[in-house]
C-alpha cells in the first residue's frame, strides 16, 4: 500500500540495522544481521523464513526476551521511544500493554501449574489494577471473545486440561487482555493441529482488525502470510533478503529464495499428487559465515559473483527491496539460470536437474 508516502505518519515500530550475536563455544553465531523495517499502525507485517533464519530471534529482540549472553545492536523504536532503553529501565506497563507476543507452542507457553483464568487475570490485575474477581470476570469474557466454549468452566481449568487449539486461544486471549497496540505472533499455528490452524489465523486477523492492532506475524509458511499480511519480509540466514507489500511479493518476487519458498508450499489448487519442490540443501551455519550470498549454495541462479561479497539489500525501507545479484524475473536472473542449466551445476556447486522445474 501507500508505504512510500512521504507524508505518512511515523511508523509505530521502527527497526534499524538490528544485529544479534550469540557467543558459543564454536564461535559467534550471527543470528540477526542488519535487519531494518518499519511497521505502521494497524498493519500486519509477516516475517517469513526457514527455521534458523533469525525471525524468531528478531521477534524476541523486539520483546526483549533474549538471553543475557546475546549481543544486540541497532535501534528499535516504538512510537518514538527506544524499546531497548525502556526495557533496560524496567519501565512498567509497557510490554503487555503496548506490545505483546504470542508464542509458537501453546503447550509450553501456558504455565502448567496455574489455572487458565488466573493467568489471564494476572495481566489485568498487574497492569490495570483490577480486583481479583473483576479480572476473572474479564478473563471469562476474553475467553468468550476468542471463541472458547463454556468460558466460565474453562477459567478454572489447568492448561493440560485443554486441547492445543483451545490453549492457543487462551494464549491469544491472554495477550490481548490489555488491549495492546502491537501483537507479535511467533508461528502461532505451527504447533497446533492442521485443522484448527486456519481458524486460529482467522481469529487473530479478526481480532486485529476489530481492535485496530498492528501485528507482526512470524511464520515459515508463506501461505500463512498470504491474504493476512499487508507487508512481507523474507529472512534468510539472519538477513532480510526481500521485503515488499504482500501483493508485490507474491506476484512479483525477486529473490530466488522467496521463489523457492513459494514453490515448496502446497496449494489447494494443486493436483492431488503434485510434486512439491523442496529447497535443496540446508540452511547455512550462522557461525563464521563466508563473505558471500548465504543462499548461493542452494540457489539455482548462483553465479560466481554471488560468492564474492554479501549482496546488499536494495532500495529504501518501505519500498520493494531485495538482496540478490541475479534476481528472479529479471534478465540477469534468467541469464544466470540458463547458464547454470547448461552447465548442469551452479557456480556454488549445486547440481541442477536436467529439466526446468515447473514455474511458480
Amino acid at each position: 500500500m501507500a508505504v512510500e508516502s512521504v507524508s505518512a505518519p511515523a511508523p509505530l515500530l521502527s527497526v534499524r540495522d538490528l544485529h544479534v550475536r550469540f557467543p558459543t563455544e564454536r564461535g559467534t553465531v550471527n543470528a540477526v544481521n542488519g535487519v531494518s523495517f518499519d511497521l505502521y499502525e494497524g498493519r500486519t507485517l509477516a516475517i517469513v523464513g526457514e527455521s534458523g533464519s533469525g525471525k524468531s530471534v528478531t521477534a524476541k529482540t523486539l520483546m526483549n526476551l533474549l538471553p543475557r549472553t546475546a549481543h544486540v545492536s541497532g535501534e528499535v523504536t516504538y512510537d518514538g521511544q527506544d524499546v531497548r532503553a525502556l526495557a533496560a529501565a524496567g519501565t512498567k506497563h509497557f510490554f503487555g500493554v503496548q506490545m505483546t507476543m504470542v508464542f509458537q507452542d501453546p503447550m509450553t507457553s501456558l504455565n502448567p501449574v496455574k489455572k487458565v483464568g488466573e493467568q489471564i487475570a494476572e495481566t489485568l490485575r498487574y497492569h490495570l489494577g483490577r480486583s481479583r474477581s473483576d479480572a476473572l470476570e474479564e478473563a471469562e469474557h476474553l475467553l468468550d471473545q476468542v471463541g472458547i466454549p463454556e468460558p466460565s468452566r474453562r477459567v478454572s481449568q489447568y492448561p493440560h486440561e485443554l486441547s492445543g487449539g483451545l490453549r492457543q486461544r487462551v494464549v491469544i486471549a491472554m495477550a490481548l487482555a490489555c488491549q495492546p497496540r502491537l501483537l507479535i505472533a511467533d508461528e502461532p499455528t505451527t504447533a497446533v493441529d492442521v485443522t484448527v490452524q486456519k481458524h486460529l489465523l482467522d481469529l487473530l486477523d479478526r481480532l486485529r482488525r476489530d481492535r485496530g492492532m498492528s501485528m507482526i506475524l512470524i511464520t515459515h509458511d508463506l501461505g500463512v502470510a498470504h491474504g493476512r499480511a499487508d507487508d512481507v519480509a523474507v529472512m534468510y540466514a539472519g538477513r532480510l533478503v526481500e521485503t515488499a507489500d504482500a501483493r508485490t511479493l507474491f506476484f512479483d518476487m525477486r529473490h530466488p529464495y522467496t521463489e523457492a519458498l513459494l514453490r515448496s508450499i502446497p496449494r489447494i489448487e494443486d493436483p492431488v499428487h503434485h510434486r512439491l519442490d523442496p529447497i535443496p540443501g540446508r540452511p547455512p551455519e550462522l557461525v563464521d559465515p563466508p563473505d558471500a550470498c548465504a543462499f548461493a549454495p542452494r540457489c539455482i541462479y548462483a553465479r560466481a559473483d554471488c560468492l564474492d561479497g554479501v549482496p546488499e539489500l536494495s532500495g529504501l525501507v518501505g519500498l520493494h527491496r531485495f538482496a540478490c545479484l541475479h534476481p528472479t524475473g529479471t534478465e540477469r536472473g534468467e541469464a544466470a539460470l540458463a547458464t547454470n542449466r547448461t552447465a548442469g551445476v551452479t557456480a556454488a556447486g549445486l547440481s541442477l536437474p536436467q529439466e526446468a522445474p515447473g514455474s511458480g
Binding site: 557467543p23 563455544e25 553465531v29 524476541k60 538471553p67 549472553t69 507452542d105
Partner: protein, 320 residues
C-alpha cells in the same frame, strides 16, 4: 554391527556413536525435552568446558592421592611420635602445621591422614558402585519382580537412618579399616543403585539394545556390552561426588568416636575431633584447622571436579 552397539572399527563411526551416546545421556537430563531458542546456546557455553577450576581441583586430588600412596616414603616426621615438639606448638619451620596435644607433628599426621580418609572414601564408593550399580542394572534390565524387589531394598536402605546403621555396625564390630569402609560402602549402595537403575531403564528401551535382543544375544552379553558402558558414564560422573560424601561420612563417624581404631590409623576426622575441644579451638586453632582445611579442600575438590564432570556428561544432578 553398529546397531548392536559394538564399537566400529572405523574411527569416525565410533566417534559418532560416542557422540550419540552423549546425546542420549543428555536427554536424561532434561525433563521437558530440548530447550528452545537461544537458551540452550547459553547453557552450551558453560557446559562444554571443564575449566581452570576443574584442573586445579584435579591437581589437588592427584597431589593428595600421591601423598596417600607414598606417605611412608616421603621425608615426613613420624606421625605417631609423641613429643616430636612441645604440645600445641604453633606452626614453625620444623613443624609446618604445628604440633598437637601430644606434641605430634600435625603436618605429617595430615599427610598420613589422607591415606585412611581417601581409602575409606574410595573403597566405599567403589563398593557402592559394584554392588549398588550391579543391582540397579539388573533391576533396570529385567524389570518386573526383580525390579520391585531391588527397588524395595533400596528404599529400605534409604529409610534406614544411614548414620545410625553406620554406628550400629562400627559400634559392635571391630573398627578396622575394612569394616569402616564397608559400612560407608553399604550406605552408598542405595543412591548409586537408584541412579544405575534409572540410567538402565533409559537404555534398556533403546534401539541398540532391542536390536541386540532381536539378534539373539544373551542377557549377560547385552548387559555387559550394551548397557554397562552407557550406565558407567553417569555413574562414573558421580564417583567423585560420592567419594566426597564418603570422606565426610568417615569424618562424622570419627566425630562420634567410631572411625578406624588404632594409633597409626590416622584420619582427618580423628585429627579434627582431637583438636576440636573448645580450649584447643581457642588457644591452638591450628591443631584442628589444618586437617579441617585439607579435608575441606579435598572434599571441595572432589565436589567441584565431580560436578564439572557431571555437567560435562550432562548427567542430572542427583540427590545423594
Amino acid at each position: 554391527m553398529s546397531a548392536r552397539g559394538r564399537p566400529s572399527r572405523r574411527g569416525r563411526a565410533s566417534r559418532q556413536r560416542l557422540l550419540q551416546r552423549f546425546r542420549i545421556v543428555r536427554l536424561m537430563r532434561s525433563r521437558r525435552g530440548p530447550e528452545p531458542g537461544g537458551g540452550s546456546e547459553e547453557a552450551e557455553v558453560v557446559r562444554r568446558r571443564l575449566g581452570f577450576g576443574f584442573w586445579l581441583a584435579v591437581i589437588w586430588l592427584l597431589a593428595m592421592a600421591f601423598v596417600s600412596l607414598f606417605a611412608p616414603m616421603l621425608p615426613l616426621a613420624d606421625p605417631t611420635e609423641v613429643a616430636f615438639g612441645g604440645p600445641r606448638e604453633s606452626p614453625s619451620l620444623d613443624a609446618w602445621f604445628g604440633t598437637d596435644a601430644l606434641g605430634r607433628d600435625v603436618f605429617a599426621r595430615t599427610m598420613h591422614g589422607a591415606r585412611i580418609s581417601l581409602a575409606v572414601g574410595g573403597f566405599a564408593i567403589v563398593f557402592g558402585m559394584v554392588v549398588g550399580g550391579g543391582m540397579g542394572i539388573l533391576a533396570g534390565y529385567y524389570r518386573g519382580r526383580l525390579d520391585q524387589g531391588v527397588g524395595f531394598v533400596f528404599f529400605v536402605l534409604l529409610s534406614f537412618p544411614a548414620l545410625v546403621l553406620a554406628i550400629l555396625i562400627t559400634a559392635t564390630l571391630e573398627r578396622s579399616l575394612l569394616v569402616v569402609s564397608l559400612t560407608i560402602g553399604i550406605l552408598s549402595i542405595a543412591p548409586v543403585g537408584l541412579l544405575a537403575r534409572a540410567s538402565t531403564l533409559v537404555y534398556a528401551e533403546r534401539e541398540f539394545v532391542a536390536a541386540a535382543r532381536v539378534l539373539g544375544a544373551r542377557h549377560g552379553r547385552i548387559i555387559v556390552r550394551e548397557l554397562l558402558p552407557n550406565v558407567v558414564i553417569p555413574m562414573g560422573a558421580l564417583t567423585l561426588l560420592g567419594m566426597a560424601v564418603a570422606v565426610v561420612a568417615e569424618g562424622s563417624l570419627a566425630f562420634l568416636g567410631l572411625s578406624v581404631a588404632g594409633d597409626d590409623a590416622i584420619s582427618w576426622g580423628k585429627m579434627i575431633v582431637d583438636g576440636a575441644g573448645l580450649r584447643d579451638l581457642q588457644n591452638s586453632t591450628h591443631v584442628a584447622m589444618f586437617p579441617v582445611a585439607v579435608m575441606f579442600l579435598t572434599v571441595l575438590a572432589l565436589n567441584f571436579a565431580g560436578d564439572r564432570i557431571r555437567q560435562y556428561f550432562d548427567v542430572k544432578e542427583l540427590p545423594f
